[in-house]
């Protein structure tokens, strides 16, 4: 008995007044990964909407206590997906966070990160490049250097962060990657790598471009794109997020198809239209831009690809929230996995349950994040899969952290890695699915 719809209801942007639409049925509690762990009503959409409503009516202050309650949310979107009144609770929360930032301003460290580093890709590259000189902080060819996990975990409350990939994607990918000889060119796509595939998983970023090229596309890579802005918007700094969106829209305006391998970036790029008020002249441009964006697997499933693995493997798939709930994409990656020769696909229980990362959430509320991660690990373990595939670098980080903590004999891979394992051809007819 599946009780969940396939994706989120459409929302026309952030609106605090939407909190009034909540009829308090409590169905969100059934779907909220955080509520399922702690059962605290102020940490779930129904309770939070009441608080937001009261703050809006100025019967409670928008102080640090209030901001703290707003932080108990992964913005995963499950509450909105199950809501019978179609209340866009994640957007309401983002609006409330933005309201707090507008009233109180950002903390200095956050301001430095959002308005300084994330906005300025060159500065970020330079800073991270300098950091990469420190032994152990960077990886070569995607293979993490040992020891750093435990060292950095001191700062991340135990979460093992990925190492920096040296060189970064900008030094790996040419401006254009052409299809290999013998493959007919079907067209041109621009890729949006996002911070993760630019700096931390650059090898995967490279692979994404290669798979697309093998599928018959000339892949254009633009160096001076910036962060998609989602983390900044989620933290309530809408103005900076809008500047980032504006920059990316401008840089990619001339392309008809924009592909990203990052579920989080994809959900942001497709939402750019929502980030601007209806009287903003940029809104229309942003909506047009959003319409051109596809996720990697969404795009490839339509193309049909052929690939094989060298040895038979059992594979399961973890649905990233930003993919399933925010973009409505869940069948496409499975189709792709099933089409790979040698892959035996098994579904895990709770396949679309959150991994528990939620960006900064995992650092702010590590105990809850780990409780959510534990459930996921148990479900992965039960499948006896050798590989768990996903489509989101955030999930990759959290799942790899969980696999390491639980000592599971499981490899965590981005979907492009499995597709890039061997041959990929562009011929739809030869696709045996």
């Amino acid at each position: 008995m599946k009780t969940l719809p396939e994706s989120l209801p459409a929302s026309e942007g952030d609106n605090l007044d939407d909190a009034n639409k909540c009829m308090k049925c409590g169905f969100c509690m059934y779907n909220c990964p955080i509520y399922k762990v702690d059962h605290i009503e102020s940490h779930v959409a129904r309770g939070r909407n009441v608080l937001i409503r009261q703050a809006n009516e100025k019967t409670i202050p928008t102080d640090a206590e209030y901001a703290e309650r707003l932080s108990y949310c992964l913005l995963c979107g499950r509450c909105a997906a199950i809501c019978p009144a179609k209340v866009p609770s994640p957007d309401i929360n983002v609006a409330a966070r933005t309201d707090v930032v507008n009233r109180k301003g950002l903390s200095l460290p956050k301001r430095a990160v959002y308005r300084g580093i994330l906005k300025n890709r060159k500065l970020m590259a330079n800073l991270l490049g300098a950091a990469a000189i420190v032994p152990g902080v960077s990886t070569k060819d995607g293979k993490p250097l040992r020891h750093m996990a435990d060292f950095t975990s001191v700062f991340t409350k135990g979460l093992s962060l990925p190492k920096l990939s040296k060189p970064f994607l900008s030094s790996r990918l040419p401006a254009k990657t052409s299809p290999p000889p013998g493959v007919n060119i079907k067209g041109q796509v621009a890729i949006f790598p996002g911070c993760a595939f630019e700096f931390f998983f650059a090898d995967i970023g490279e692979g994404i471009a290669q798979v697309l090229a093998k599928a018959g596309y000339e892949v254009v890579y633009i160096k001076d794109l910036t962060c998609c802005g989602l983390a900044v918007r989620s933290a309530g700094d809408l103005k900076t997020a809008q500047l980032m969106a504006k920059h990316n829209i401008k840089k990619l305006a001339k392309f008809d198809r924009i592909i990203t391998g990052c579920a989080t970036c994809g959900s942001a790029l497709k939402d750019y239209g929502k980030w601007f008020a209806s009287d903003d002249p940029l809104k229309k441009q942003a909506q047009e831009f959003s319409a051109k964006v596809s996720d990697f697997s969404e795009f490839l499933a339509k193309e049909g690809v052929k690939s094989q693995v060298t040895e038979p493997v059992i594979v399961t798939y973890h649905d990233p929230c930003h993919m399933k709930w925010h973009q409505g994409i869940s069948s496409q990656p499975r189709e792709l996995l099933r089409s790979i020769d040698g892959v035996k696909f098994v579904e895990m229980e709770g396949e679309d349950d959150c991994c528990g990362l939620g960006g900064a959430f995992t650092l702010a509320h590590r105990d809850i994040s780990l409780a959510i991660q534990d459930k996921k690990m148990q479900n992965i373990k039960n499948t006896r899969a050798q590989i768990v595939v996903t489509s989101c670098p955030g999930c990759l980080i959290q799942l790899r952290d969980g696999v390491r903590r639980n000592n599971l004999p499981v490899k965590v891979m981005h979907i492009s890695e499995l597709l890039n394992n061997n041959q990929v051809s562009s011929d739809k007819k030869s696709n045996k699915s």
């Binding site: 008995m1 009034n20 009829m23 308090k24 309770g47 009441v50 206590e65 199950i82 019978p84 179609k86």
Partner: protein, 481 residues
Amino acid sequence: MLLSAYNIDRQIYTGRLKISIENSILEKLRAIVGEKGALTAPLDLASYAFDGTTSWQSKPDVVVFPTTAEQVSQIMKLAAAHKIPVTPRGAGSNLSGGSVPVSAGIVLCMTRMNKILKIDADSFTVTTEVGVVLNDLNLALTKQKLFFPPDPQSFLAATIGGCVSENAGGPYAVKYGVFKHYLLGLTAVLPNGAIVKLGGNTVKNVTGYDLPQILCGSEGTLAVITQVTLRLLPLSPSHRTVVAVFDKVVTSGQAVHKVLTAGILPAKIEMMDNWVIRRIEETTPLGLPLDAGSMLLFELDGTQSAVDKDVESVIKSCQQAGALNVRAAKDDVEAANFWTARRAGFSAIYGASPNIFAEDVTVPISHIADLIDKVQQIAKKYDLTIVIIGHAGDGNLHPSVLTDKKNAEHYARAEKAVDEIFMAALEYGGAISGEHGIGLEKKRFMKQAMQPEAIDLLRGIKKVFDPDNILNPGKIWEEKS
């Protein structure tokens, strides 16, 4: 004494008598449930000030989350020693004000006692802690081809403890009854802290007064239930859905009567009026006829051959009653869509105006058409939109009056209409609440619904269980002034 201080009106409590719990007691509570088992921050308390209704709000002083009956016992002993009000709570999805802590004090939130303890497929019983969400129980039972019929439409939120305490029911009531018909036994903590086991594990059990049945539907006023044993049925092998469209709501009411008197007992008979049909089509287009006055949904279950025969009989009865259109859903997918639409009906109502009186009257099935007729007259008389949706097969309708508290004149008319709907239900030999309970919302109608001597019996039972009146005080009946 405490209770008379409350103005039991459709008001948000503001000037209530405030019990402030001393820090030493909070410390003791934390010692029982642990640091993470108690909430005292004002913003957390604010989110426990309400239930599923729009009419009532009152903050507790502390919310505690016990994980064992032993902890509940210690909490109750502490509360009894200091005469602190305790309001048990599950998901707080109830629709009567029943779990709103109007006397402040302690909210005893049972949601962390959420383990299914034993599914006994051989004896057709399940024993579970009370914090389990009904849908989670159903998922676990379906895996073993077992069936627990009571289906309040809040099943994605409601906890088993809440359902037992409200004696909840839903569409399946027409054939399968409500929670009380499945409650075999339970463990509960009395207000003095004693842990008692009541009832047993068998369908037949005449051992003195039926105490589990007294707790069932007692709205958390007698004891804190921590564990229940419920009766199960085998899952029916076959299900089919029939959809019938009528020109008027009254005609559909007559059709329900016709179907039942023809000797068919459908598993569900649900009714939606034109307003609901149009709203469903707006949000989830299913191709429902927009000009239909009313629609009935039937579910037939049993063995396949019996179900097929019943489907034919239902179609024939509806035709005889004057249905404009009646047919069986073509497959499971279409059937599921219709039932999803039915569930969406209530949300459509709740989203339609700032305040809703979603009433819960029940009449004997021979009077369904009369009640519908009466509600429509009342709507006309007071110039209101009153939407009709409900479990027509068991006579339980939810006439929902759309109104707005901010418009005092409109709100007053709505209140009058609600009063008249209640009176009409009582005149037809019905009840003022079919499945939502009395709580705060319907207290003022108790005198019309029950003899004074009967209300005195309620008071007497309450006194035996809870002599100090600390458990969910201020609910169900009005205090004598």
